[in-house]
């Protein structure tokens, strides 16, 4: 606050050049002061107690021209607006406010000169002038200076904080403000608004090919096109890069929004001629509608962004709505992953073991560890149901690590019990390709004896190995230094070349069950199985068939040179505590020896398979009739079933003239009739009938077997299975 200035003068104007240099008296002193005031660049004016102008310096003349009295609120040709937006008139004027209050004031005044001239700004200080000993108010002193450039700079900075300098569109901050306003308005009026995120397709290529200058010009042109299409109250903002946001307000219908978006897509699809280059470009737009998507402004933008990403994925040059129910789906999926994490934490996971048998020697060579989830509500869940949910999540690393630790512990336990079993552990792609895996293996190696590690086999899915063959082959060779063995799992599902196989120093190839199951019916699958076995032999690797379900498959695999097998034909996966009992009771199936015997021809071998298959068929009918759920009902009538196809085809050609072959037909038809009857019986409702039909079916089967057996006099008596060695019906899937 400035104090009052004691100065009493008469009205006078002075030319800025009229400087008097020589000062000798008190009068001269006063003259000197006047001279100084008159030469100041600040406009100085003095007003009397009636608000009349009593003095003004040259700068005041320059600043106010013919309107010298404007600060005292007299109407004139100049329009001044005070900082409170009221016009500078009468008692509101600075001079009269000081006269009324006796207090100094400062105001920032906007000066409108009219006629399209730009606005200017003045800073005005007004001070009361005191007179005499009592210091009574005698007038007002005002100083005024133009601060237009200062204000404009501040305004520009302010503008820059809220706008994008390149396109002159609002930026993210201003957009956020506008969204708040628009959302409040939408709630008040009940009219929806659309938040759209627009991203140019192919902008990066433009920048890369033509340089940033062209890119920038393109962005300006895009901004212009957008502005010409949106409606009056809509907003267009640039969020950065080639990303724009649109705020479409007061939508009467979705159609209105779509109309605007379609026009935008069309407008942006027209080529841009920048620097003589026709630049082909398009845009992808993601849209979310408020208040259907009832979230805050920040989330609306994120949702629009996600929809925009979907639009890009769907092929660019289009718009996509954000779908709140998809969002719900994503969150629900996430909850399933969390559920698995909780289960592992709570100890709800366990390992089951499925035997790996050498069917030529009859030896049990090892076990594959298979993870099971004891779900508190859903019961035992198989890995096929939950592993896919975590394969792309770090959760799979925790589960994989847990499996390794448990398996090593189990190997030690078996060693202590005198059981020498190799254990296979499945490791997911994500874990393999995660940097620390070999470190973790080394850590585990330091905690376990070398003979324990030597029994560990890490099974890598073929497709995972092919994702980064260099890294995986490096991992395998480092793992082998620790004594760990490796196998390529699900072999055949990827496209390994011989070169790949040469580089991956695995001990074994495991043929996927999806090739084993259909191989007897599908020549293509059989061809794949044969070629994998051939590859394994060529590279001196062990080969394991997974998911072996029937004795036919065992025999054919043995015939093809694959001795190691896993599957329901041998044993289902079992809990740890059942393994020793199973091993104690295990005896190799004598039928396996068939494959090792000399045979006169392939057709006779087919006959053996047919016999084995018949038993399997009857087993399946009985299982199904007894309500075993995961067994599919056998399909086909007596002519189109597998046996029927053999009998009326190959069998007829070869054995038609052999005595007794024709009688087989009646037995076979009888077995079919009985099978169909059994499937309509309910053992719970009428057990007596069920058992009677079942016995009849088994009788028909045995009679048929007897006939078939008489067709092959060459077959040694000893390999025929005794009834006690026949396997009980098993369910279908082998390695779930």
């Amino acid at each position: 606050m400035h104090g009052p200035i004691p100065l009493n003068t008469e009205a006078e104007t002075c030319d800025s050049e009229g400087i008097v240099a020589d000062v000798k008296t008190v009068g001269d002193e006063l003259a000197r002061l006047r001279t100084i005031v008159s030469t100041l660049h600040v406009a100085v004016q003095m007003w009397d107690i009636e608000g009349r102008l009593s003095y003004g310096n040259a700068a005041a003349n320059t600043l106010f021209g013919g309107e010298l009295t404007v600060l005292s609120g007299q109407p004139c040709g100049l329009r001044l607006l005070l900082s409170n937006d009221s016009p500078c008139l009468g008692m509101a004027s600075p001079v009269w406010r000081v006269l009324a209050s006796g207090q100094a004031l400062t105001d920032q005044i906007m000066r409108l000169d009219g006629d399209g001239l730009p606005a200017r700004w003045l800073r005005v200080h007004a001070y009361p002038l005191r007179e005499g000993a009592g210091g009574e108010l005698g007038g007002v002193l005002t100083t005024s200076a133009e601060i237009t450039s200062l204000i404009e700079r501040a305004q520009h900075l302010e503008w820059l904080a809220h706008n994008d300098a390149l396109t002159r569109l609002p930026n993210r901050i201003l957009l956020a403000d506008r969204m708040q306003v628009a959302m409040a308005h939408s709630q008040r009026t009940g009219t929806p608004l659309a938040v759209c995120l627009l991203d140019l397709d192919g902008f990066k290529q433009v920048n890369d090919s033509y340089g940033h200058k062209v890119g920038d010009t393109l962005l300006q042109e895009v901004a212009q096109r957008l502005l010409t299409i949106v409606r009056g109250d809509d907003s267009v903002a640039r969020l950065g890069g080639d990303e724009f946001a649109l705020l479409l307000v007061e939508l009467k219908s979705l159609g209105e929004c779509e109309l605007v978006l379609r026009r935008i897509l069309q407008a942006l699809a027209l080529p841009f001629g920048v620097a003589g280059n026709p630049l082909p470009i398009s845009a992808s737009i993601g849209v979310t509608i408020y208040p259907d998507d009832a979230v805050d402004a920040d989330k609306l933008l994120r949702h629009a962004d996600r929809a925009m990403y979907e639009a890009k994925k769907a092929g660019k040059g289009r718009f996509r709505y954000f779908d709140p129910s998809q969002d719900r789906r994503i969150r629900a999926n996430r909850s399933a992953v969390d559920r698995i994490a909780q289960g592992l934490e709570a100890g709800d996971f366990c390992l089951h073991y499925q035997p790996l048998v050498n069917c030529r020697s009859g030896q049990v060579e090892g076990m594959e560890a298979l993870v099971r989830w004891r779900h508190p509500v859903l019961g035992f869940r198989l890995p096929g149901e939950f592993l896919p949910l975590i394969e792309q999540d770090d959760m799979i690393l925790r589960l994989g690590d847990w499996t390794l630790v448990m398996a090593l512990r189990q190997i030690e336990a078996w060693q202590a019990a005198g059981l020498d079993l190799q254990v296979g552990v499945n490791i997911a792609a994500r874990q393999l390709h995660q940097g620390g895996f070999i470190t973790r293996l080394r850590q585990l190696a330091s905690n376990h004896a070398p003979e324990t590690l030597a029994r560990l086999q890490i099974e890598i899915v073929e497709t995972a190995a092919l994702e980064d063959i260099n890294a995986v082959s490096e991992l395998i060779s480092q793992g082998r230094e620790l004594g760990i063995r490796f196998a390529l799992d699900d072999f055949g599902t990827g496209y390994s070349s011989l070169v790949h196989l040469q580089r991956l120093r695995v001990d074994a190839l495991k043929i996927d069950q999806t090739f084993i199951s259909p191989m007897l019916d599908e020549p293509m699958d059989l061809a794949i199985v044969e070629s994998v076995i051939g590859m394994a032999h060529a590279f001196n690797r062990r080969v394991v068939a997974e998911g072996v379900e029937t004795i036919d498959q065992v025999l054919v695999l043995l015939e093809l040179g694959c001795e190691l097998m896993q599957g329901y034909a041998l044993a289902k996966p079992m809990p740890t505590e059942s393994v020793s009992t199973w091993l104690a009771r295990y005896t190799p199936d004598p039928l396996w020896r068939l494959a090792a015997m000399p045979r006169p021809s392939r057709t006779d071998f087919q006959l053996l398979l047919t016999e084995a298959n018949y038993r399997f068929w009857v087993d399946r009918v009985i299982s199904r009739a007894r309500g075993v759920e995961d067994v599919e009902a056998p399909s086909g009538d007596y002519q189109s079933c597998r046996f029927g196809r053999w009998y009326y085809g190959e069998g007829m050609r070869r054995y038609a003239r052999v005595a007794g072959f024709r009688q087989v037909e009646a037995l076979h038809r009888r077995a079919h009739e009985l099978g169909e009857r059994l499937l309509t019986c309910d053992p719970g409702q009428d057990e007596a009938t069920f058992l009677a039909v079942e016995a009849e079916l088994l009788g028909a089967r045995d009679a048929l077997m007897g006939r078939l057996r008489s067709l092959r006099p060459w077959l040694d008596e000893e390999v025929r299975p005794s009834p006690a060695q026949r396997r009980t019906p098993t369910s279908k899937r082998s390695k779930p």
Partner: protein, 146 residues
């Protein structure tokens, strides 16, 4: 099997509702997945797309069946309506087994034709949601009112 090519998306309607909000909300997710499969799948669709849709179905089976089966247990459904409950659980297991089987086939390079997947999901919607689930819903709602 009826080909379901380029048909309109299924819009959630009151008739689908079981009356139990938690269940209905999750059913809407399935309808959404079905619509997505309808809109996006072609017989030449990439393996990734099929992979992601079937993964969604596995996930759905996990959280949704848990929700329903927990509600069953809490409401003594298995003892009060043992036949309905048995059938219900059987259908749940069959759904998961079918999806796992579809994925196994895809892995072996045999991708399920679009219409076959859509038919499977449509049948599930009609047979399970409109039938089995509505019976459970009616039971739960009646118990809550009692």
């Amino acid at each position: 099997m009826t080909a379901r090519t380029n048909v309109e998306p299924i819009v959630w309607q009151e008739a689908f509702a079981t009356g139990v909000d938690e269940i209905d909300e999750q059913h809407q997710i399935l309808v959404h997945t079905l619509n997505e499969a309808n809109a996006r799948l072609a017989d030449t669709s990439s393996i990734e797309m099929l992979d992601s849709i079937t993964r969604d179905l596995l996930s759905y089976a996990l959280y949704h069946f848990e929700t329903e089966e927990r509600l069953m247990e809490e409401s003594a459904y298995p003892s009060e309506r043992s036949e309905d409950a048995d059938l219900h659980l059987q259908q749940h297991r069959a759904f998961s087994a079918k999806v796992v089987a579809i994925r196994e086939e895809i892995k072996a390079g045999r991708r399920i034709p679009r219409d076959e997947l859509l038919t499977f999901l449509n049948h599930w919607l009609i047979n399970h949601i409109l039938n089995t689930d509505k019976r459970l819903g009616a039971y739960l709602v009646a118990r809550r009112l009692a």
